[in-house]
């Protein structure tokens, strides 16, 4: 168990002043310090992008993979050693553009990992192009006449793909976000958290104040998190933007069906002298 101070890596984040990633970092550290997980048993896996630099700023084990690929290595780490807490994190381009295939398949596997999308509706590190979550009609550097495509709705996709915990947070409410991340990491099964995250450099049209005027908390609106249909409806709201837990259910997780890692994770199993005698019988 570590305090927030102990979770500081000692490196100063390189994000733009005012970036939503600072709040997400604070919330992640806050959640980890509340959960009773030793630093060495935590692995934060990211993709590539502004937000994906986050493993460098938290003192745990980290894996900064390639653009769009946080989920496959997170899956590999988890299956190799399911005693670790694995948190995957990356931007909307990372998760819903180049990494969309992995998102859908990771959700349906119900692996016991947490996936956080830093959703600022823009490609930041590549200097301001449209992203899959950029709303239709938005002008960006790659869509100067307004984007033509319908945007992706990440929580709706996570629900459709079979995620057993689906939530949305807002970088403008750190306390609420911290609680969501804590719940997500604690959830037994795959958890998906989309985070509204203002990009102060490339999305000046989408400032904190606009989010603040639109968001409302699901838990204050009497939403039933066990009701899948209600969750679907909430994710589809466009006039007001719900934050909080959309849906939560308990189902057997992927590793429940792998009997041979019940006692020991793969990495702890003895491989020094495997006996192949039984295997090769079929070739005699």
């Amino acid at each position: 168990m570590a305090t927030v101070a102990e979770l500081n890596s000692g490196h100063t984040p390189t994000w733009c002043p005012g970036c939503g990633d600072f709040a997400i970092l604070a919330a992640l550290k806050g959640a980890l310090s509340k959960l009773n997980v030793p630093q060495e048993d935590t692995v934060i896996v990211s993709g590539i992008g502004c937000g994906s630099k986050i493993p460098h700023f938290i003192r745990t084990y980290g894996f900064e993979s390639l653009h769009g690929r946080s989920l496959p290595p997170a899956t590999g780490i988890h299956l190799a050693n399911d005693r670790l807490k694995v948190i995957a994190i990356g931007g909307d381009g990372d998760g819903c553009g180049i990494g969309m295939g992995h998102l859908v398949h990771t959700m349906r596997r119900n692996l016991n990992i947490c996936y956080i999308v830093q959703d600022n509706e823009i490609y930041g590190l590549t200097t301001g192009q449209t992203s899959p979550t950029t709303r239709k009609g938005t002008k960006t550097r790659s869509t100067p006449n307004g984007s033509i495509e319908q945007e992706v709705n990440p929580p709706l996709i996570a629900l459709a793909a079979g995620a057993t915990f689906v939530a949305r947070g807002f970088a403008g409410d750190v306390a609420h976000l911290t609680s969501l991340i804590e719940q997500g990491i604690s959830h037994r099964g795959v958890s998906f958290i989309d985070i509204f995250q203002p990009c102060v450099t490339w999305r000046k049209d989408l400032p904190y104040s606009l989010y603040q005027s639109k968001v409302y908390k699901l838990e204050e609106a009497g939403h039933d998190t066990s009701n899948f249909d209600a969750a679907i409806d909430r994710t589809r709201e466009t006039d007001r933007w719900p934050i909080g837990v959309f849906y939560k259910t308990d189902k057997p997780i992927y590793t429940d069906e792998i009997p041979f890692i019940k006692d020991k994770p793969l990495v702890s199993q003895d491989i020094s002298n495997v006996d192949i005698s039984k295997f090769i019988e079929e070739f005699f």
């Binding site: 490196h11 630093q39 060495e40 048993d41 692995v43 896996v45 590539i48 630099k53 493993p55 460098h56 003192r59 745990t60 084990y61 980290g62 894996f63 900064e64 993979s65 390639l66 690929r69 989920l71 496959p72 290595p73 997170a74 899956t75 590999g76 780490i77 988890h78 299956l79 190799a80 050693n81 005693r83 670790l84 295939g101 992995h102 859908v104 398949h105 792998i258 009997p259 041979f260 890692i261 793969l266 990495v267 199993q269 491989i271 020094s272 002298n273 495997v274 192949i276 005698s277 039984k278 295997f279 090769i280 070739f283 005699f284």
Partner: protein, 583 residues
């Protein structure tokens, strides 16, 4: 004149008729007779119909490939007769299902061959079910060879005993019916006779199977794979042994995921591998570079097929050599090894796992369709010396004492101690960005150069002995020509020596397994001391010749290249060598 214990046999039929299953069954009869057996299949990319064959050579001499034209042809359909009966060796036997093939269509002008046309389907139905027409055919083939029935009977019992005594008896009855039929049909003894030889038990195994056994022996714990011919049987066989050996086998959404999953599992400390063919390997190149940057040990199997693009999915080629050596942007070390036979598939898979951990880098195993799916008798793998060496992997107790641990610490050989998540005192980020000794991303010029140099040094830790080429045939001083080959061409190249010797030509084979690291000194010395040299490889650009030139400065002028999707044949190599030497 009877030829004892030298047989070439071809089975043909439509896909879905069990051609390969029968071929393997028959080959196992020869294996149980104590012979050396080689078997290989040929099939188009479809599931039902088309034309499949399984070819077998069996001999009491050491053989490593197909040795000649079929002496016996088993036709499960008309097409097989049309395509192959003219290739039957003089005095050969044609065995066919008279329920499916009409007498009149058979092999015009071949009065010299035996006809064994039995109503397989009818006989199978009598024995218990039409589905056993294969077993009747097997019995008929064994009968032609004058073999005792007990070997076939023992094999069938072994295969079917799990299904219960009734199934065993039905199959034995079906085989017996075929056996008795051909015995009564053959008025004079067939030209080939099989007389069982006493010897230690051998394994009959193909390249993919040998790789899987090797991976299990090496302690592979995690396999992620997306299906692709001809690598898919690795996925199937691994998955079949998942619980027995405690290996998680994950079929992924694509090859990107497969390669990245094994990177993650390797970071967490599990020995991990994936298998694919060239198309899938293309998708894995981004992960390959990431493994290079992160210094992660992973094993990637690329069973080559004809490219580019979809190419000829079920046909063989050796055209991914340079691609494997250079795949992914930037510069980083990797191991590239191409086993030459099933025994090397086993040992080099174990080596690949050990070397990947020794140098903390990806290891690519290059197979091809021919090696993956050709089976061969080989000695019991348990007799081969192998071990698990995990390189500079830190134990939990090492890490308890570690202070100021740096995952990418600079040292003389470039190989840093490696810790795993879950261990104390080792917190770091494993990053795809260039990084400093702690793993923190760095774009500083000096650090960049130091890290490139650090990684580049690592392959030197691999012993020259391990990667040395192997030599076969005549002594260097005697040989008129040095045949240079790599990967799966080994068997046919070695077998060509026998045909060359008959023609009075002393030749020597140099077989290369390792393309990276490369045994430059030994290869150069062999090439410069040879009277003449010939490169033999399965691609149109002579890629290994180019690689040898780059590594040694020696250019092998003469090349025998094959890129029609079909494997090299020993007799063809011998003929080519004869022509080359005449010029």
């Amino acid at each position: 004149m009877a030829d004892t214990n030298r047989l070439n046999f071809l089975i043909g039929g439509p896909a879905g008729a069990g051609v390969a299953t029968m071929g393997i069954l028959f080959a196992k009869c020869m294996q149980r007779a104590g012979l050396n057996v080689f078997g290989t299949n040929d099939y188009p990319s479809l599931i039902k119909g088309g034309h499949n064959t399984y070819a077998i050579s069996a001999s009491d001499e050491q053989i490593n490939s197909l040795m000649g034209k079929p002496d016996m042809l088993l036709a499960l359909d008309q097409l097989t007769i049309r395509l192959h009966s003219k290739c039957l060796s003089p005095g050969g036997a044609l065995i066919y299902d008279s329920n499916k093939v009409k007498e009149g269509d058979i092999a015009e002008g071949r009065k010299d061959i035996f006809h064994v046309g039995a109503p397989f389907t009818e006989m199978a139905a009598k024995a218990g079910g039409e589905i056993m027409f294969n077993t009747v055919a097997l019995g008929a083939a064994v009968g032609v060879l004058g073999m005792d029935f007990t070997i076939a009977e023992g094999l069938l019992r072994r295969i079917w005993e799990k299904k219960g005594e009734e199934v065993v008896q039905q199959n034995i009855a079906a085989a017996r019916a075929g056996f008795d039929y051909s015995r009564s049909e053959l008025k004079t003894p067939f030209k080939v006779k099989i007389e069982p030889v006493k010897r230690d038990k051998t394994m009959f195994i193909n390249g993919n199977e040998a790789v899987v056994v090797g991976a299990v022996k090496a302690g592979c714990k995690f396999v992620a794979e997306y299906p692709m011919s001809p690598s898919s049987s690795i996925l199937h066989l691994m998955a079949g042994h998942e619980r027995e050996y405690g290996i998680i086998v994950k079929q992924t959404e694509d090859e990107l995921s497969a390669a990245h999953m094994i990177a993650g599992a390797s970071f967490a400390g599990a020995r991990s591998m994936t298998a694919t063919s060239g198309g899938g390997f293309s998708l894995m190149t981004e992960a390959l570079g990431m493994m290079g940057m992160m210094e992660l040990p992973c094993v990637i199997i690329n069973s080559q097929r004809c490219g580019p693009s979809t190419g000829l999915p079920t046909y063989t080629e050796q055209a991914d050599l340079l691609f494997s050596l250079h795949a992914s942007q930037g510069e980083f070390p990797r191991v590239v090894v191409a086993p030459g036979d099933v025994e090397e598939c086993y040992t080099e898979t174990i080596n690949a796992f050990n070397l990947a951990e020794l140098v903390q880098a990806p290891a690519i195993i290059l197979l091809d369709k021919y090696l993956s799916e050709s089976s061969k008798t080989t000695e019991d793998f348990r007799k081969l010396q192998t071990g698990v060496e995990r390189g500079r992997l830190m134990s939990d107790s090492d890490m308890e004492k570690a202070e100021g641990f740096k995952r990418y610490a600079f040292n003389s050989d470039g190989i840093s101690p490696r810790c795993l998540p879950g261990q104390k005192n080792g917190l770091h980020v494993c990053s795809s960005y260039e990084h400093d000794e702690t793993g923190f991303s760095s774009e500083e010029a000096g650090m960049r150069v130091a890290m490139i140099n650090k990684r580049a040094k690592k392959l030197a830790a691999i012993s020259e002995e391990l990667i040395a080429p192997t030599f076969h045939g005549a002594m260097q001083s005697q040989a008129e020509i040095l045949l240079v080959c790599w990967g799966s061409t080994k068997g046919a190249a070695i077998d060509s020596l026998r045909f060359l010797a008959k023609a009075g030509i002393a030749a020597r084979v140099m077989h290369l397994r390792y393309a990276e690291p490369f045994p430059s000194k030994r290869v150069l010395s062999a090439l410069t001391s040879a009277k003449s040299t010939l490169i033999i490889e399965g691609n149109s650009n002579a890629q290994m010749r180019e690689h040898i030139l780059k590594k040694t400065g020696y250019y092998i002028e003469k090349a025998y290249l094959r890129y029609d999707g079909r494997p090299f044949i020993a007799k063809d190599i011998a003929e080519h060598v004869k022509t080359t030497l005449k010029k």
